[in-house]
């Protein structure tokens, strides 16, 4: 589904990604872990089409297409979804209008007619129940005045509305209490289908108790320094990142 090959990228001249290679197959969940500043969020934003980093080298192929050539909105319509670490507040734009525009843009892209007002509201209702989001939140402006937990749930709600093929969840667990974490994780699991994939970025093992990854990668200093199965996350939880950093630096000096 997604193949990243030797991706190098810089922000304001500073190289953040130093050669990332990664393959995500249909149906897989990949966890991306690593200490702060290792480049996880940069990678997520580049995949979603944010034009803030300069891609220096490498390729990203998604469903056989060159992802880096597509504007952000087209990536979304092609089935990529980014769950934001810090969802943006947009005063004056109601959730209903926002989601109606988004859903209908997706439908247009697929050659479908826009949803009628009643069908759209029905869809909203179903998805709200699915992700256990407070129905009042949908009547408010996008994320405006939402608590941290509400914002994250709202990301999962949007994901439910748009039914992506590849979800990239950037620290969706950060700032969540255990109940909210469970709701968010349940939402992700309910939306999972055999042909959809996810990249889950997290610092903590605890999210991975709920969303079981097939592969765990550790990103450090712009490189994937370790890839293994689910047991790697448990090891990281016990031992921290220091041994990873030491190994990585040792490998660097060996080169």
């Amino acid at each position: 589904m997604l193949t990243i090959n030797n991706l190098k990228a810089a922000i304001n001249g500073k190289v953040i990604l130093k050669g990332i290679s990664l393959e995500v197959k249909a149906g897989e969940i990949h966890a991306l872990m690593g200490p702060n500043g290792s480049g996880k969020s940069t990678l997520a934003a580049i995949l979603a089409g944010r034009e803030f980093a300069e891609v220096l080298e490498g390729t990203v192929t998604y469903m056989g297409k060159n992802l880096l050539e597509m504007p952000a909105e087209e990536r979304s319509r092609e089935g990529i979804f980014l769950g934001f670490q810090y969802p943006i507040e947009i005063p004056g734009v109601s959730m209903v209008n926002f989601m109606k525009s988004a859903v209908n843009e997706h439908r247009k892209y697929k050659g479908l007619e826009p949803l009628s007002a009643s069908d759209f509201l029905k869809l909203m209702r179903e998805k709200k129940e699915l992700v256990e989001i407070d129905s009042k939140l949908a009547n408010r402006s996008v994320n405006e005045g939402f608590s941290g937990g509400e914002k994250k749930k709202n990301e999962i709600f949007q994901m439910a509305m748009l039914e992506p093929k590849l979800a990239i969840l950037d620290e969706t667990d950060s700032g969540l209490d255990i109940d909210a974490l469970r709701i968010v994780a349940n939402g992700v699991n309910k939306l999972r289908r055999p042909d959809t994939s996810a990249i889950v970025i997290t610092h903590y093992q605890r999210l991975l108790d709920y969303i079981i990854p097939d592969v765990v990668h550790v990103l450090y200093d712009g490189r994937i320094v370790k890839t293994a199965g689910r047991e790697l996350a448990i090891e990281l939880e016990e031992k921290g990142y220091d041994w990873i950093k030491r190994d990585a630096e040792k490998n660097n000096s060996d080169e």
Binding site: A72, S76, G92, S101
Partner: protein, 459 residues
């Protein structure tokens, strides 16, 4: 014999022209007005001679150049001709909407030959000021010219000297009008015209009314309007005025609105400028009794070489009053915006709360915004705040919308709409709020040529 005035006068040639116009036409202008209204004219022209047409050295007009309009040779326009009456009657016949009590004006004048004043439910009267002065002379004597008193803007005095018509609204004590009153002022002529009209709104105590004034140009001629509206809001009353300005790029609209409030009254003003060549709205709020509360809102959407200037003056004369100013603008192309927000708290006005906010989005490098708060506070127990921002659309928010599949173009529109909505959401009457939201969206999309779902079908 009129003595020649030379001292202290600041007027230039362009002001002289209007003094001559006054001298030549005063008889004709006075003919249709009441003696009481006429009694203000001589003093007003003397004030105008002193003050002149505001120039750039006038602090409150510093960023607004009136020359291109005031130097222009207009066919001066004091009263509509017979043809105009007939033309305006045509529009009147198209009034179909029942959401509002409507009045259609032509170039500021009440054009109907009959039915120049009529009664609405609850004993409310609306009609032409000249006609009203025959019936409501004592009310007019109590209020006319009182609330502009002491104003230092030459254009207000020019209006007092020359205005020969306008709208009169009388809301008796306790009257509650559920449907708003909508004044549609159509501007249309075969020639370039300068028109001045004068409105008077009297809201007695415990009453409630919403007034909408829509300005719309219908022909491409060059227009200049200098309009004064005096509003009295009695004790415990609730009054909202909403202006919707949709004029072409060759039109100048100058409005002066004076709202005088008694104790525990609530008043709001909302200036929504959708389109216009040169727009200057000055809104004066006088909080003249304890517990009065006023809201001054404005939204301006400008592009090309358009210029929109909002001047607000809130005067806290009594204790425990609240005022709130919120003005927002989106400026595209080479357009300019100006905001001057003055809060004046008198020495005795303890317990005052006064707030002001002006936020602007510039869509290009060439668009300009001048914003200036002006706080004069002479009381010590006061809560005041002000803030102004000038910036661009938020890139983070744009990306957020795009990341959900919304195109950049649509995302920009949504952000501008959301920005504007903060002003629109304060409109109390719900259908009107929705209508305004739609008009704003159309304007942002560049599709606004006429006001959708207006009760008048223009053209």
């Amino acid at each position: 014999m009129p003595k020649k005035i030379t001292v202290m006068s600041n007027h230039s040639e362009r002001s002289d022209k209007y003094i001559d116009i006054y001298r030549e036409n005063i008889e004709r202008i006075s003919f249709s007005s009441s003696p009481y209204i006429n009694s203000f004219r001589e003093k007003a022209i003397a004030e105008f001679i002193k003050l002149g047409i505001p120039a750039k050295n006038n602090e409150s007009y510093r960023y607004t150049n009136l020359d291109p309009f005031f130097k222009h040779e207009f066919k001066n326009y004091f009263m509509p001709g017979k043809q105009d009456f007939i033309r305006a009657e045509k529009f009147r016949c198209d009034v179909t909407d029942l959401d509002a009590h409507g009045i259609v004006l032509l170039n500021g004048f009440y054009p109907t030959i009959n039915d120049k004043i009529r009664q609405l439910p609850g004993g409310v009267w609306i009609g032409s000021l000249n006609e009203a002065s025959k019936i409501f002379d004592s009310h007019i004597e109590k209020h006319y010219g009182k609330y502009v008193n002491g104003n230092s803007d030459g254009l207000v005095h020019l209006n007092t000297a020359l205005a020969s018509g306008g709208v009169f609204i009388y809301v008796p004590a306790g009257a509650v009008l559920k449907k708003p009153v909508q004044i549609i002022n159509l501007v249309e002529s075969d020639e370039d015209i300068f028109n001045q009209h004068r409105n008077l709104v009297i809201v007695e105590k415990n009453a409630d009314i919403t007034l909408i004034i829509c300005d719309h140009t219908l022909s491409p001629q060059k227009f200049l309007t200098n309009a004064v509206t005096e509003i009295y809001v009695g004790e415990n009353s609730h009054f909202d005025i909403i202006r919707v300005q949709n004029e072409h790029n060759n039109a100048a609209k100058i409005t002066h609105t004076f709202i005088h409030q008694e104790q525990n009254s609530h008043a709001s003003s909302n200036n929504i400028t959708l389109h216009g060549g040169l727009v200057r709205n000055s809104t004066h709020h006088y909080l003249g009794g304890e517990g009065a509360e006023c809201f001054s809102y404005g939204l301006y959407l400008a592009d090309k070489f358009q210029h929109v200037d909002n001047f607000v003056n809130v005067n806290h004369a009594y204790p425990n009053c609240t005022s709130n100013q919120l003005f927002k603008g989106v400026l595209d192309d080479m357009s300019t915006g100006v905001f001057n927000g003055r809060i004046y708290v008198n020495k005795g006005a303890q317990g005052t709360s006064a707030y002001q906010k002006n936020n602007n989005i510039l869509l290009t490098d060439d668009a300009k915004m001048y914003t200036k708060p002006q706080l004069e506070i002479y009381a010590d127990d006061v809560k005041c705040s002000h803030g102004a921002t000038v910036g661009q659309l938020d890139n983070n928010a744009l990306f957020y919308l795009q990341s959900r599949g919304i195109s950049k173009h649509e995302a920009r529109l949504m952000l501008m709409y959301g920005f504007a909505h903060e002003v629109i959401q304060n409109i109390r009457v719900e259908p009107l709020r929705e209508r305004m939201d739609n008009l704003v969206m159309q304007r942002l999309k560049g599709e606004l040529s006429r006001c959708a779902s207006c009760m008048v079908k223009c053209g």
